[in-house]
Amino acid sequence: MPYILNTENDRQAMLRAIDIESAEKLFSFIPASIKAKEYLLDKGCSEFSALQKIKAQAAKNTTVNEKKSFLGAGWYDHYVPAAVFDIISKPQFLTAYTPYQPECSQGILQAIYEYQTYMCLLTGMDVSNASLFDGASALAESVLMGLRIAKKNKVLVLKGINPQYENVLSTYLGGTTYIIEEVKTIESAISKLDDETACFVFQTPDFFGVINEPDEVISECKKYGIITVNVVNPVSLGILKTPGERDVDIACGEGQPLGAGLNYGGPGFGFMTANIKYVRQMPGRIVGKTLDLDGKTAYCLTLQTREQHIRREKATSNICSNQSLNAITAGVYLALMGSDGLSNVANICYDRAHYLYNRLGEIKDVRFSVKGEFLNEFVWNVKDAFDVLACMSDKGVYAGYLLGNDYPDMKDSVLTCCTEKNSKADIDFFVNKLKEVLDGV
């Protein structure tokens, strides 16, 4: 029997100690009518057989390493140094739970405190929580936080938010009477701000890759006491202007680019940083620094009266388990990379993406409908984009994400991303294959 140490003798001894004949009897107060009459699954198997079976299934996948991948759209294939895996596989990180008992969890707590600091330094904000589930739910939680602070009813969203995040936001608000309104331009955003507006939400670089700077909206929001929420890609903050410099109230996003790998879309983690004056409205765990009885530096979970285990239905969120290991991963990744390493990643992404953009510009059937400076991702247009992408995949290139999936009016638009993993040769390969496809070769 895998994973059970007790022998039949042990079990018999224990049953005798509790004066019961058989383990079955322990379940005797479950009504017979609702007891399973037979095994609910096939019999178990050896480790070797399980491995064979699952490896056979794994073999049916084609990985991004087998083709040239230019897929991004909210989930990025960055290089992760080998040392990251070593550290986060340590049993004392991997198999511990939430550090409820600070005395035997100082390592976890300090690692999270350092993570919180890293996120503050990156985003230019005052305070970070210990992680949320993912970028999308982090946005939803940020908006809920904004609604609590502003005590008003309307959420204004600037077009260009990751469409999956928008979907999650409306799911999270599905049980409430709050109103979400989308505006397409900065001008219309300004015209829609009013005394009913609680939150203004924007993403930069936006989902189409454009580095948008809605500075005027942000300063206008201040006049109304509207909470500004900025969705950001943490890697972009290696070089781009920060939420702190923009003077927003809350920054949030997906932490996956910081060392998590791809894993078919999860786990990454959601991060949230904010202005210190709102810390009591933050959701999720927060680690604080304090002292022990001897006056020595120590860390512990803090401001817990915000949380569900104390405040129950009045808590700032229902979140309990979060994505700690991925948050710690981000800390390890940033420790290894340093400022120099992280800005290098962002610079290389910029460099490669612009090289690809310019090479695509050589192709007469390619157009660019979305304007504006970009970092690692951009939109290009081609007739019959759906078919073009399929042909490119057949030729060994994941050329990008079809925006028509989310925007009916963008069915010929492709969102394409470069990371430091795409070499110049890969990009040239991309361009050559695209030419072949468009020439019908």
């Binding site: 550290i87 739970y97 939430t98 100082q106 976890i108 799911t171 009477t177 400022s339």
Partner: protein, 478 residues
Amino acid sequence: MGCKVIFDITMREKKNSYLPEFSCGYALPEKFKRKELCLPELGELDVIRHYNKLSNKNFSVDTHFYPLGSCTMKYNPKINDYIAGLENFSALHPLQPIDDVQGILEVLYTFQELLCSLTGMSAFTFQPSSGAQGELTGMLIARKFHELNGRRPSKVIVPDTAHGTNPASAAMAGFDTVIVKSNDNGLVDINSLKDIMDESVAAIMLTNPNTLGLFEKDILKIRELADKAGALMYYDGANFNALMGVTTPRMMGFDIIHLNLHKSFSTPHGCGGPGAGVVGVTEKLKDFLPVPIVVKDSGRYRLNYDMKKSVGKLRAFYGNISVLLRAYTYILRLGGDGVKRVSENAVLNANYIKEKLKDDFKAPYDDICMHEVVFSCINQKEKGITALDIAKRLIDRDIHPPTMYFPLLVKEALMVEPTETESKETLDYFIDIMRKINSEVETNPSIIKNAPVTMPVKRVDEVRAVRDMDFRWHKDGD
């Protein structure tokens, strides 16, 4: 022996050169640039030493007995991690063409079928990343289900023993929570339930066994009452480890359930996450699940987004895939016979501890318990020693403390969940230590009050942390 904050380690000049040096000649215009980014530049060995020092300060399942009630800190088999790390799973982008990801979709589809067999449910979503997010999903499904039936019930019932996430999740979904009291046996009081169960109730959330570790024997009566009122039954699967293969949530009458894969299904807790709180529903609620779900048409797997009644999405993409892969591996390994043995052994282990400790620590409920047992330290409290003190003393004896002060119904509660993966030898050690601590209450209370003394820090001043509000490192002088 303290450990420097990573930001105080001596800076290195050397770059770690993890990335190719090469440029196509493009650079970001100045006006988009941030102010200087000040992260420390460290060598790889600096970082490795730092985190190794940190890791050595933690208790974990792999190093310590960890009977943290309600969290099911069972052993996390290593084959699960190995499988999750296979490149053919880990190097998949979530937006790759469906034909290139048939393997992972097959895994998800097969896993879904296994979970359906094990729970009696008809379909699952893998999106929720934790139990709490599963609860929110479930409550949103309940809301939408009633709405499409032209009803707008406003309340959700939760027992006084419920975990905090239950009322918090119901509230997030826009419901008012109503508390149903427990009776003297620690079970939902049926008469109180009758008084509050009416057509304004959308759902009742229960965990079974409940958080006192007791099986809700009247579950079918509760089902009847819910049915009469038109309310749905939500199963908080945090305690499913007691019942796997013995009964199913469906047989118990539940409509919507979540399972904590990071509990019953052995995926590692990772200092608090990532987990997975997969949600299963009965046939009539299938179309309400978040999009997309994995379907199979003539031998080919795909993601179905075409679900008109869906509550929407709970996260980007499909779920914490590497957590799901671990749980899938676990369930294949165990099979139908294995899961039943898990529950039998988990329950036996808990009852053994209860029997052996009930003379020293008050066990407020007489009945046989399920996979966990709640003790009350009120007798010790009268002598000046609290549940917290006892928990801290356990740390000195190399045992991670049980869950403290939960459920709220039990005063000075210590909630012990040994799990099936612990041996009688370990349980006997725990029992012995607990008895010794109880005699120390008389003979040497100060050793308990001062515990722990074997850790890198003594008792931590949590009140001060709230007052100081120090959530991040600052450069000297900042």
